[in-house]
């Protein structure tokens, strides 16, 4: 099982802040995971309707779409940051 956490409008669209999911064997990268999530229902499809915008972190470090998800304990998806 992998812990997924969501923030800001990604969290609002999916409708939950976090969940534990068993990732299927074909999900190798962050981009694969986003695509797989987008197919899990309309709330997920809405969150990932523009997958190029959504950012990701693995174990609290920024990652790129082609980063492998193997071994990840916590994977986060969120919009571009607007702090400061």
């Amino acid at each position: 099982m992998t812990k997924l956490v969501y923030f800001a409008w990604v969290r609002e669209r999916i409708g939950k802040p976090e969940e534990e999911l068993a990732l299927p064997a074909g999900v190798l990268t962050v981009a694969d995971l986003a695509r797989w999530l987008a197919g899990r229902g309309e709330e997920y499809a809405y969150a990932f309707e523009n997958p190029d915008i959504v950012r990701a972190a693995i174990d609290k470090k920024h990652v790129k779409p082609d980063t492998p998800v193997a071994g990840a304990r916590e994977i986060a998806f969120f919009p571009p940051m607007t702090g400061g």
């Binding site: 956490v5 920024h62 986060a76 969120f78 702090g83």
Partner: protein
């Protein structure tokens, strides 16, 4: 410079006291010639904004700001650096973020402060949601391309 500079990073709901944070970097020493402070505040957006709600990713927010602060210490001869970022509901006029940089001379303090803010805006996992005075929950603030550009320009130069 004597000894390693350890950045002070704090992610919290509570407000900060700028004078106290300057004193944290300067008290008891006489080798500092320049302290630069930057305070980011919540605007009222022409009277339409009731408050900003700042969401953050606990743990990662601290890590990313600490990473950026450590990079500032590597690039400039700083005697001290502080970064405080608030989360939660912040009303117009309220403080959001504080960066304090101290150095023997002003050039390093100015540059490091600007570097910290530019990187913090694009790397630190915070998101702002608008609450409007008409009672509606407004939009999530959109990231600006010029913020990315401001951060990118530091990659091309050394300090």
């Amino acid at each position: 410079m004597s000894g390693a500079v350890v950045p002070f990073v704090d992610i919290r709901a509570e407000d900060f006291d700028v004078s106290a944070e300057i004193a944290r970097l300067t008290s008891g020493r006489a080798d500092i010639g320049a302290v630069v402070t930057f305070v980011g505040l919540c605007r009222d957006e022409g009277g339409t904004l009731a408050a900003l709600e700042l969401e953050h990713y606990p743990g990662m927010a601290e890590d990313e700001i600490a990473r950026v602060a450590a990079e500032a210490v590597r690039r400039w001869p700083l005697t001290g650096v502080t970064a405080i970022h608030r989360y939660g509901r912040i009303a117009p006029g309220g403080n959001i973020v504080l960066v304090v940089t101290a150095s023997a001379h002003r050039a390093a303090a100015f540059a490091a402060g600007e570097f910290l803010m530019d990187y913090l805006k694009t790397r630190a996992p915070f998101w702002k949601k608008e609450h409007r005075v008409d009672g509606t929950s407004g939009d999530w603030v959109e990231a600006k391309a010029e913020d990315d550009a401001a951060a990118d320009r530091w990659a091309a130069r050394q300090g």
